[in-house]
């Protein structure tokens, strides 16, 4: 018996770095890393050199300087003595405002159009096909310009509403005014406001009403508590149904819980509807949506709605017919088939592209440039850069804002995807 020995180990040869798959991956990565590092180094050193040549430095101090320009739509208090940083925040708020408004309406339009396109009704289906194809195949910029032209050129100016025999009139019982300058809607004001800002009288001889952020917080808080209560009632009803087989009737308690507490709070705060009215050459009071915001909002919603319609249609078509047939064979009602069988499966297909459509809408809101809406690109990425000459810093911050926004949203989407995906080996 000969002694057991290990087989002789071949010495490491340099050619193994290329031909041996165990080492090749390391070689490739080292080379790639060197190339990328060189690229980044070249970029940074070029930038430093170029900045030095121009006599500029890399400094975010401009964010603390006074901005000196006005912004025509503010969700947070701002005036032209405030800093560039605050101006950027105002812009961010405006971007988020149009994005959220657009996402909500685009979702509604998209779901309706997507379902309607699958309708058996030939006229409706074809009409929706025309809508979807028209918006999907024509640039968004063109739609924004077109809708802005409609809103600002075709609608009457506020002074057309003046006089004894005005050429234009307000809609819905003198409460809504659609003008070329913007849309005026009624708003809710509070006569007993908690933190009333700018208390105003809607007409002469009326009680002064204020618009307060505190009031809305209180109302939303009460509403949220009510919703939690409703959820508890439903859970209890489900428990009773599971143990006894009979679901107790709860709709009136639910309805009461929804309406009564909020109603009481609204009455205590003295909520009144403040309608816009003409004063001088313009409307005053009420809620004012600038025409730039309106046209951007409408264009973004219609454009993204067309894409969402296709997503919804694909989602519903992706659920095989056998599923609804099986549900029917189990004796399920069509409504419950939809909510318990089809929609949960369709949702898995619909949600990821839907979220990316919302992201697209948010990024497309930077086309606000075309209508002069003051979003973050216009404040931070436009006027601030032009005034301070800080292109590099400004564009970096602007890019970082959009990047953070989309990373947060797509991170949330990935979590959702992982929780709903089908398990494979």
């Amino acid at each position: 018996m000969s002694a057991m020995t290990d087989p002789p180990k071949p010495a490491f040869r340099l050619s193994q770095l290329i031909y041996d798959t165990r080492y090749r991956s390391i070689t490739i990565q080292v080379v790639a890393f060197a190339l990328i590092a060189y690229g980044i180094w070249a970029l940074v050193s070029n930038t430093i050199g170029n900045l030095a040549d121009l006599g500029k430095d890399f400094d975010f101090g401009f964010l603390g300087q006074s901005a000196g320009y006005d912004i025509n739509q503010m969700l947070i208090p701002y005036d032209n003595q405030d800093t560039h940083g605050r101006a950027a925040l105002v812009g961010i708020a405006n971007t988020l405002l149009v994005a959220v408004m657009g996402c909500v309406t685009a979702l509604v339009i998209g779901v309706l159009a997507g379902v309607a396109r699958l309708s058996k009704n030939w006229v409706v289906a074809k009409l929706m096909a025309v809508y979807v194809e028209g918006f999907r195949n024509i640039p968004l910029l063109l739609w924004i310009l077109l809708i802005h032209a409609v809103v600002s050129e075709a609608l009457p100016q506020p002074n057309a509403f003046r006089g004894a025999d005005p050429s234009a009139s307000m809609l819905l019982g003198d409460s809504v005014a659609l003008t070329g300058r913007g849309f005026y809607f009624p708003r809710i004001g509070f006569t007993n406001s908690l933190s009333g800002t700018e208390a105003v009288a809607p007409r002469e001889g009326y009680t002064a009403v204020a618009s307060g952020g505190m009031d809305w917080l209180v109302i939303l808080g009460v509403l949220a508590v009510s919703l939690v209560g409703i959820k508890l009632i439903r859970n209890r009803a489900s428990r009773i149904q599971e143990s006894t087989g009979v679901r107790p009737t709860t709709w009136y308690t639910q309805l009461g819980l929804l309406i009564i507490p909020t109603g009481i709070v609204l009455t205590v705060l003295g909520a009144t509807i403040v309608t816009p009215y003409l004063k001088g050459f313009n409307f005053t009071e009420g809620m004012f949506l600038r025409s730039a915001l309106v046209s951007l909002w409408v264009a973004l919603s219609l454009y993204t709605g067309a894409f969402i319609a296709e997503t919804v249609r694909a989602g519903i078509l992706s659920v095989s017919k056998g599923q609804s047939e099986a549900a029917a064979a189990l004796g399920m009602q069509p409504g419950r088939t939809m909510s318990l069988v089809i929609l949960p499966q369709a949702m898995r297909v619909i949600i990821p592209p839907l979220i990316s459509q919302f992201l697209n809408l948010t990024k497309n809101s930077s086309l606000a440039l075309a209508v002069g809406y003051m979003d973050v690109r216009a404040t931070l990425g436009g006027i601030t850069i032009a005034q301070t000459g800080r292109e590099l810093e400004g564009m970096l911050l602007l890019g970082a804002f959009y990047l953070t926004l989309s990373l947060v949203i797509s991170g949330a989407m990935n979590i959702y995807n992982n929780s709903t995906k089908l398990m494979e080996r």
Binding site: Y19, V123, L127
Partner: protein
């Protein structure tokens, strides 16, 4: 029993009745209407509302479009003609602006005696792409596809013929190097040589070679600056170059993102997410304002070229995500099957994985291309004169001050034509590549 029964029957028919046609509500148009449009009250209501909407739109826009005035030199002239023929109340389109300015909307400031060049370039491009798009075209025409980019470049920008030729020679160098070296030293060495040698050629030799050839035989056509490009020509040049360049780049990025190699994967993820996370318009402003900071001092190149590069990078990140979706949708068995056959990484990708993954991702890829083509309109914000830019320029002239809808409709129709046909082609391709029976 039967007897009694027979007696109660007073009449038994002994001949067949002739077939009658079904009731009128069950055939033809009436049945179709009942089933499709008026099957329920809601449905009927929807139908009526839809028909009213269609009627409303057509009755308002139809006469305006059909009655449009084609023969005028300015908007004021249009209005005079309208007042003379239809009265001051009538509202009709003034299509005359298209007759007056079509050349600007289509070609921008490109010299009018050279319009044949972009047209010919488009034809050459079509000829080049035909063998790739339709498999009925003979395979030998693929050589035309390889030449088309250089011919198109030369036709559009003009200048000496030796510039595209000396650039194209780099690819010939790479091809020959790969052929010779991979035979003697193995395919990896061949591939490295095919990358390194052309680079050396382009950096060291192509410049002097171009100079020498140009001095020896100055053959060329009139040079046209990029600044003269405009209108649809600009959109098409940016759009098509970005489409052609972004597809291979996007596929490589998708493969890198699916790779097991950590550094490659991470850098691909960072690149894709950063590009996708920021709107194109911010990238375009970056190209306009910041690119000079990033490049070595003294380099300065054309804005149109910068835009093409930015749009290509932007589109390639989106293509990469679409292709990654296709790669992920492929059953694992396909990857494992390729591995068990002993194929190398590139072989398995080329022969097994990519053909299937790309087939799955065709709709997404074409959608990205359509989006890219539409996004070319954003270049108006950095001062390039695309169709929308020209619509502003035309409106700024005294003749056509105040004209909106006619230009928008024309531009929209042109984009619709391009994008809709791309969408149809993707449907055709999907049907052609469909292997499963449904």
């Amino acid at each position: 029993m039967s007897d009694t029964h027979a007696q109660t029957v007073s009449y038994v028919r002994d001949t067949m009745l002739p077939e009658t046609s079904p009731p009128s509500s069950q055939v033809g148009a009436v049945r179709w209407l009942r089933e499709n449009l008026f099957s329920s009250v809601t449905n009927a209501l929807l139908t009526l509302i839809s028909i009213y909407v269609v009627y409303y739109v057509i009755s308002h826009i139809g006469p305006w479009m059909v009655g449009g005035i084609w023969d005028a030199g300015s908007l004021a002239e249009c209005r005079e003609i309208r007042n003379a023929t239809l009265g001051t109340d009538a509202s009709v389109a003034c299509w005359a602006v298209l007759g007056d300015r079509w050349h600007q909307l289509l070609f921008g400031f490109y010299p009018s005696d050279l319009y044949w060049r972009p047209i010919l370039a488009l034809i050459v491009f079509g000829g080049g792409i035909a063998p790739i798009m339709f498999d009925k075209v003979p395979r030998k025409t693929l050589i035309l596809s390889a030449l088309a980019p250089f011919v198109c470049f030369w036709l559009l920008w003009g200048g000496s013929i030796w510039l595209p030729i000396s650039a194209a020679l780099g690819f010939v160098v790479g091809y020959i190097a790969y052929g010779l070296i991979s035979k003697s030293l193995g395919s990896l060495a061949g591939m490295i040589a095919a990358i390194v040698l052309p680079l050396i050629y382009w950096l060291m030799i192509s410049g002097p070679l171009y100079g020498a050839l140009h001095n020896a035989a100055p053959i060329g056509i009139e040079f046209v600056e990029s600044r003269a490009f405009g209108g649809f020509m600009l959109s098409v040049v940016i759009g098509l170059s970005a489409i052609v360049l972004s597809l291979p780049l996007g596929i490589l990025l998708a493969l890198a993102r699916q790779s097991d190699l950590f550094i490659i994967k991470t850098s691909a993820v960072v690149f894709i997410e950063v590009i996708r996370g920021v709107p194109l318009i911010v990238w375009l402003f970056t190209a306009q304002l910041l690119l000079n900071y990033f490049l070595p001092p003294g380099t300065n190149f054309d804005l149109t070229l910068r835009v093409i590069i930015m749009v290509t990078l932007f589109a390639s990140a989106y293509i990469a995500e679409v292709v990654r979706g296709g790669l992920a949708a492929l059953p694992k068995g396909q990857y494992e099957g390729a591995d068990s056959l002993g194929l190398s990484y590139w072989q398995s990708m080329q022969l097994i994985v990519l053909p299937q993954a790309l087939k799955i991702s065709i709709p997404g890829i074409v959608n990205t291309f359509i989006g890219l083509f539409k996004d070319t309109t954003l270049v108006v914000f950095i001062g390039l004169a695309d169709p929308i830019g020209f619509s502003n320029l035309i409106r700024a002239s005294t003749d056509w001050n105040g004209i909106y809808w006619e230009l928008f409709i024309f531009i929209g129709a042109m984009f619709f034509l391009f994008c809709f046909s791309m969408g149809r082609y993707s449907l055709y391709l999907e049907n052609k590549l469909q292997r499963e029976n449904r």
